[in-house]
Chain length 507, copies 2
Amino acid sequence: MSQWQNGTEMPRWLDKRAGLTPERTAVICGEEKRTFRRLAEEVRKTARRLSGLGVGRGDRVAFLMPNGLHTVTLIHAISWLGAVLVPLNTRLAPREIAWQLEDSGAKVMIVNEAHRSLGEAARKACVEGAPKALSWDELGDQPEQETEGCSRISLDDLHTLMYTSGTTGRPKGVMLTWGNHWWSATASALNLGLDPADKWLAAVPLFHMSGLSILMRSLICGMTAVVHPAFDPARANRAIAEDGVTIASVVGTMLTRMLDELGEEHYPESFRCMLLGGGPAPRPLLERCKRKGVPVFQTYGMTETASQIVTLSPEDSLRKLGSAGKPLFPSELKIVGDNRELAPGEAGEIVVRGPNVTRGYWKREDATRDAIRDGWLYTGDLGYVDEEGFLYVLDRRHDLIISGGENVYPAEVEAVLISHPAVEEAGVTGFSDKDWGQVPVAFVKPKEGQSVAENELLRHCRERLARYKVPVRIHEVEELPKNASNKLLRRRLPELIPGGGQGETGP
Amino acid sequence: MSQWQNGTEMPRWLDKRAGLTPERTAVICGEEKRTFRRLAEEVRKTARRLSGLGVGRGDRVAFLMPNGLHTVTLIHAISWLGAVLVPLNTRLAPREIAWQLEDSGAKVMIVNEAHRSLGEAARKACVEGAPKALSWDELGDQPEQETEGCSRISLDDLHTLMYTSGTTGRPKGVMLTWGNHWWSATASALNLGLDPADKWLAAVPLFHMSGLSILMRSLICGMTAVVHPAFDPARANRAIAEDGVTIASVVGTMLTRMLDELGEEHYPESFRCMLLGGGPAPRPLLERCKRKGVPVFQTYGMTETASQIVTLSPEDSLRKLGSAGKPLFPSELKIVGDNRELAPGEAGEIVVRGPNVTRGYWKREDATRDAIRDGWLYTGDLGYVDEEGFLYVLDRRHDLIISGGENVYPAEVEAVLISHPAVEEAGVTGFSDKDWGQVPVAFVKPKEGQSVAENELLRHCRERLARYKVPVRIHEVEELPKNASNKLLRRRLPELIPGGGQGETGP
């Protein structure tokens, strides 16, 4: 009788959903469709093959796969065993992947054929034990080992380890429990409403929170996930116009390209929500949506909050253009500055709490203590709330650069630049870019008596960083702007370009 | 960081909802409407008046009020303080109410003007301390005491004590936590879907789980509750036809009367769910709905499960006519007989578990241990599941009689009959009735050498029992049917009527 008091327990979601609505469509990928019943059958097979590899409850299983039906099946199979997902960004450099494999202690990594060499390079870059690696096809050849997997789960059980970078040091694994996903999915449904005929477009990566959360909602809410292999604006528009997609998750650059592609056409009435995340939205883009009757809902969230934590509600989506909305039921938000909660209109750090918020970072008690205080997550992002309690996000955390929806942390890029023998100091900041929203630009001060060739530094970066993190330009400078306590002032970096500044990226 | 692990905490629901969607309509009662903002203001006022009476967190507050805006306000005000609701059935006899007041240890009872004398009689019938009693108007005259009430709640906190009778002994207080209500409301939304424009008709009493759960869903889902003072079929039909009601909670007798009243008319397309609870539905009624295109969804639930735990899903509502559906996400169900889980098609006791299930009975550890074993609630109801897992309820628990949606426990009526000095033994069973579904009929064996007048016994019952529990006929008999171990066989009682039997109630 006390089992509900310490981590609510329940049946594994896929089994429950397949039992409730077996004939409903779980996922559509191109020409392929799966009902929940058939998805569950395929997931069981995959899970039993993983079990044959020694994967069991609590083991970490990494995957390096682009969006696709196989990826959906694998994600559910890992959870079916009670193992922990470690989604790997396919755009990372081998050394970045190696870090996540080692830090998570992944037992197995599954790659698709196209990423086999990247996976192999990542395994070679592992200093300590590298995980067993199999391609999806090789996994299909594995014998099935009879197992019932983890048929009951607790909402406190770990479900996902998803890596994010930060202000300092190496990327950290955000621990997300089944409960974090549950509360996030239900909070979204309580805000946007829920129609059994809903179809949610995942043209964002499944290895990101924005994509993974769509699969979680699909299970919990009994909704169809329409998964695109990669983002293509014409294909995304067709999915809305012809395939009955009712909700789509996008970032600003995706939305701009979709509107460009849409031209004079309009979305059908059935399309009810363009959920816009990935950083503060440019006002002109929102205005354009409003004029065109696109039902855009700005949202604010991060890996640590298992996707959305603040989203506009249907009745406010037009009235409060520019705001990310209010914290979803039952989450909370406050703005903090000078160690106190600020009043409406005052800008400060955005601080949130709620049952969708991570319990912390994997094996990083220091970072966890730093980020989560008295149950509140200090996001590092800047914003304010208006008199009605609507959040306006001013700037993403820690000089975060958002490039095409991917997060680029200046500190991570700077650390790579400084690791070059000729570099004394480095500073990285985001410049506006019409295609990507922002792109990283670097400023380096060479070691005394040395000089650095831009090409050589770019090569150094490309070996160690995902393509989208590599600076589009590296400027050599004599001094970096700093404050009195010698802290780098990244926002003043653009002044170092003669005649330059925010808003242009060169050449 | 561990606060989500032991009883998820969150802001008080009314505040949260009023913050999120202040201008949405929370409740409609006749000509009166309240937005969530205004409801929250009125609730705060009422809560502060209760606080002036000494009511605080954990205190039990009983209310004896029919459906109405005041009742909605009072219910939320009690919760706003973190106090515990004790809803009293306005049809009970004074002695029955007195039992619930004493057993719950209610500190205050609020009555409406029409039930003032009933409340006074109940207080007089209290043997030990009676609660302070105020009419709603008197409460309005109380000074407000400044308080913030209980601004954060834990899902493990007690929210409601709702009394149900059982096979033996006095009624028991079912302990329902905030979490039980939460999980019930979200489970319902995950099954039926959720539209911010939904309006849910509460023509069932708010002092029953079926009505109270509508108020909980209203807060959590941001939905309008349309509250009728009492059930009137024409008014209910008008609410659907003219006022935009999309979902209605009904029991069989209500539905029959609504269909009769509807005549040749039809419900509009916008009406999407007639949620039919309160016992197994007669097949002809379901067929009639199907022919008429009424979207009827059979459901199974009880106070102990905070309303629905098994409900048909939209895609199965026609295909599986006669079934109550499958256990809602994330609840579970099994059929037990001979101390084992039975196979599909085998009839046995319906056993359920899930986070919406009560943690037990107030101060009745024995009854709790008896009902909840290994986390499973043994309902006492009989049923089976088919090969697809759909539940068919065969008979409500313990010879339960359901009369007009109200539960009548034979044992409770028998105990009252036996308390009469002339009665040796008594047996009560349900007879079919075209208006009420079932009505109780009694059989009594007088003490040796004595005889009992039916009128005298009826008077005895009316003093001690709610009207709907009083037998419509009391037959004097020489012997009651019993099995070898001398257990009363209630199902064989009808055979005692010469030429009688199930299906007729006389005269």
